[in-house]
Amino acid sequence: MSLEHSPETPRVPLLALMSVFFRVGITSFGGSTAAWLYRELVENRGWLDEDGFVTALTLAQVLPGANPVNLAIYVGSQLRGGIGGAAAAFGMVGPAFCVILALGFLYAQFGNSPTAHAVLGGLAAVGVAMTLSIGVKLARKVRKPVPVLIAATLFVTVGVLHWQMIPVVLVLTPISIGLERMAGRKKSA
């Protein structure tokens, strides 16, 4: 899979790959990861062109897993195969993992204080707002009646009725992809 690149582009050392994602991992607070990665990968290093970056972003978003980690795997595996993907993902998650452990430690110490609980209550409210804003952003791509119905069915069954998430997703995902495939076939016919 690195064949597309190997003849003309020089082999990127694994350490360089990991360190780029490590740097982005510690600098991109607050969900601006994509902007930082664009600067590093497209503008500074030329590891991806503009189109490649857009494809990477789209795939990272629709596939399972965290966006920034998926981006790291995409870019890493493009440049250096599976091991490159693992190195990039490790660089991306490592710093954030250390920060979260420090926070977990603080929570174990002070989590029971009323002030900590009040502050966390406020942060949770903002956290839900972040989730909603991501949902709204994703929903801009979902316009036609059938996809809207699928999204609504998932929300009602999993969110409101508390049905088991995994079986619901395993049934609705193939249906959703299959219907899109059929719609595409009709259009081209």
């Binding site: 899979m1 607070f29 607050g30 969900g31 494809t55 795939l59 629709v62 596939l63 399972p64 897993g65 965290a66 920034p68 980690v69 795997i73 995409y74 595996s77 493009q78 993907g85 993902a89 998650v93 954030a96 993992f97 979260i100 926070l103 977990g104 929570y107 002030t115 609980h117 009040a118 502050v119 966390l120 406020g122 942060l123 949770a124 409210a125 903002v126 956290g127 839900v128 707002a129 909603l132 804003s133 949902g135 709204v136 791509k141 996809p147 809207v148 699928i150 999204a151 998932l154 969110g159 409101v160 998430m165 995994i166 997703v169 609705l172 995902t173 959703s176 899109e180 495939r181 081209s188």
Partner: protein, 176 residues
């Protein structure tokens, strides 16, 4: 005891990893259900606290798994939960990217992209509802969520500014 808990973490997080279309937000609803209602590892309040911490911290929201792992089985729990939440989805992404580049003209590419989007949207909104329910939110929190969501969606105000204002106001309200 600890071995059982580590195994439990893997059994809860690894399957969720594979269906986390749209990122960590998508599986929050089931994480809450599994860790609070089914396994009784956490109380609703602890879950909401950990959710808040994971959103305030840098990095992907999936790292809430590390916090839950830490609460359930200490440092080793954090490592195991993190690996369980990342490895399955990462292998799936690696496979999907290979397939994507190997099948340039496949009509399935567009179908996959368009077909997964509504799944992600439904799950993300279900996740927001799950946290609101677990938090037993009061009027002030609902107000905060609405204002913050409005700012995030329609302005360029950074999320850390909003979080700082919220944290400060909630702390001050304690002393009124």
């Amino acid at each position: 005891m600890n071995d059982t808990r580590l195994l439990g973490l893997i059994l809860v997080f690894a399957p969720l990893s594979l269906i986390s279309f749209g990122g960590g937000q998508a599986i929050v609803a089931d994480m809450q259900h599994q860790t609070v209602d089914v396994q009784h590892w956490l109380t609703d309040r602890q879950f909401v606290d950990l959710f808040a911490l994971s959103r305030a911290a840098p990095g992907p929201s999936t790292l809430i798994a590390a916090l839950i792992g830490w609460q359930v089985a200490g440092f080793l729990g954090a490592i195991v939960a993190t690996l369980a939440i990342y490895i399955p989805s990462s292998i799936a992404v690696y496979g999907a990217v290979r397939w994507w580049h190997a099948s340039k003209d496949s009509p399935w590419r567009g179908a996959l992209e368009r077909g997964l989007a509504p799944v992600a949207v439904g799950l993300v909104f279900a996740g927001a509802l799950a946290v609101l329910e677990a938090a037993h939110v009061n009027a002030l929190q609902i107000f905060t969520t609405v204002i913050a969501a409005g700012l995030l969606i329609s302005t360029r105000v950074g999320v850390y500014t909003i979080m700082a204002v919220a944290a400060l106001s909630y702390a001050l309200l304690q002393f009124l």
